[in-house]
């Protein structure tokens, strides 16, 4: 069974592709939704197409499914139109699935189930990555503010941090916001940042 994943973030497509291979599917292709991707897709004649629900190329793909001669077969979205739970789960996870021929439900359901799990896993990974990136940036900002305080007020590092923290608490702001304000102010005053 030929499965095409339409995706341009390499990572998500890889996560999904690996899962499908582990589950025993081996005819898997990843097509980025750019340029003449519709023509490529047509040549591949997939049985199932998976893509990110938020992908703007969905409209283009659906139009192709309507007018394409090569794929002019009945199509079903989310496998079984009456399976509301699965459709809800797929939409929540951000998967949209097109079954481009009349494949039986039993054959396609595991693919969609797996795609949902993988998309969810990817979303969690992405969130964790974003969080880590933000935390790192925050720490750099705070370090910079600390060093300004250490130089200009002649404070030790723990005291500089304590001053930032108490200021933040008094003003009901986040430490990183206070640190940012301090860096900006120091920059304006020509202080050593």
């Amino acid at each position: 069974m030929r499965i095409v994943i339409i995706d341009d973030t390499g990572l998500r497509a890889t996560v999904l592709e690996e899962g499908l291979r582990e589950a025993g599917y081996d005819d898997i292709h990843v097509v980025p939704p750019r340029g003449a991707f519709v023509a490529r897709l047509e040549r591949m004649a997939p049985d199932v197409v998976l893509m990110d629900l938020g992908d703007p190329s969905r409209d283009t793909l659906e139009e192709m499914l309507v007018v394409s001669r090569a794929l002019a077969r009945p199509i079903a979205m989310f496998v079984d139109r009456s399976d509301d739970t699965m459709i809800g789960a797929a939409i929540d996870a951000g998967v949209s699935a097109y079954v481009v021929d009349g494949l039986r439900k039993e054959r396609v359901k595991p693919i969609i189930d797996l795609a949902i799990r993988r998309f969810n896993a990817f979303a969690r990974m992405q969130a964790a990555l974003d969080e880590a990136t933000t935390a790192l940036a925050d720490r750099k900002t705070i370090d910079k503010a600390k060093s300004i305080l250490m130089t200009s007020r002649n404070l030790s590092e723990p005291d500089a941090y304590a001053l930032l923290r108490s200021t933040a608490m008094n003003q009901n702001r986040r430490i990183v916001d206070v640190a940012e304000a301090l860096i900006t102010a120091a920059g304006l005053l020509g202080g050593g940042a």
Partner: protein, 406 residues
Amino acid sequence: MTPLAIAFLPLTDSAVLVSAREKGFAAERDIDLTLVRTTSWATVRDRLVFGQVQAAHMLAPLAIAVTLGLSQHPAAIAAPFKLNINGNMLVMAGGFAAALDPDVIRRTADPVGSAHDFAAAIGLYHRKPIIGVVHRFSSHALMLRYWLGYAGIDADRDVTLRVLPPSLMAEALRTGEIDGFIAGEPYGSIAIGEGLAEAVALGPCIWQRGVEKVLAMRRDWMEANADVVDRLLQALTAAAAWCDDPANREELAELLARDEYVGQPASALLPALSGRLTLSADQSTVDVPDALLFHREAAGFPWRSQALWIYSQLVRWRMITASPDNERQAAEVFRSDIYRRALVDMGEPMPGASLKLEGAVTQPMPVGAYRGALTLGPDRFFDGAVFDPADVAGYLRTYRIGTDHI
């Protein structure tokens, strides 16, 4: 407060929804409104059909197509409110516009001449022109087909229509994937502003009061939540009045410009809102007072005759076969009865009828209304045709292209 989620696309005509939330019109009526931004119409449709949102900013023809089973999962959709009238522009890359009247103001003012010029030029291009449309079942696609058809161009045979979401049009033009596009604002203005294209036709010059986006909901949900629907329609009516007021234009443009809404500069949003459109890179501008209507002339009222006009076009372009059943289902998508029920106490002028001859008003015309005076603006089609909703078949017989099968 009642939580309510509405899916929308980043377009100038999401204004009524955005202001309903941001200016507190929804909260005043005890609705906690969440707006879910999406990129493609397919996603808006799925979120609505599968109940992930309760309502959607939707292309009027798409609401009808979903109801008729033409677009993926069939579902009975109801449109009790129109979010706007007009707002579209057809633009083309310089090389493709070159065969038309070089005076861009004259060209857009004369859709009859431009249609003939474009038809004559098709043979001169080295290939079929590729024109971007936002969806197969969009008012834009139907309007383009209508305009091309006038000059004997069959959109399915003589040009290539390529479907792309509105926000990707300018980029597709830049990379040469398309030669022009018809889309809702601000995307025409953006392409013109970047020097990628110039205006070829303006929505209101093709149909002066063209149906554009509707507020769509599932019929079963609408029937089960009458009270919420009424409050929502009242909130949207107040928001629409706010959007139409020139005094609020700058503020509205700033609101829409925010990343979570349209995410484009206010300067790109203002042309449609102010009715002062820039048509080409040489700064030719033109006043189009009816570039985009939100509230005046009872703009929100869903005339069933307009649903039937859309149905007539679906038949004309072979997207559905004519049948009394399909015709009835299409007309029932536009719920003027719900509009009346929800807004009867707001003092809104209320049309006395739910059907009218489309394209018959040539001068501002006072019409029968209860509660307040109602004047309808001119609603002419550029070819002067009049659509009688009581005789769809008769109307279709007057068109040569695309009706050879009926």
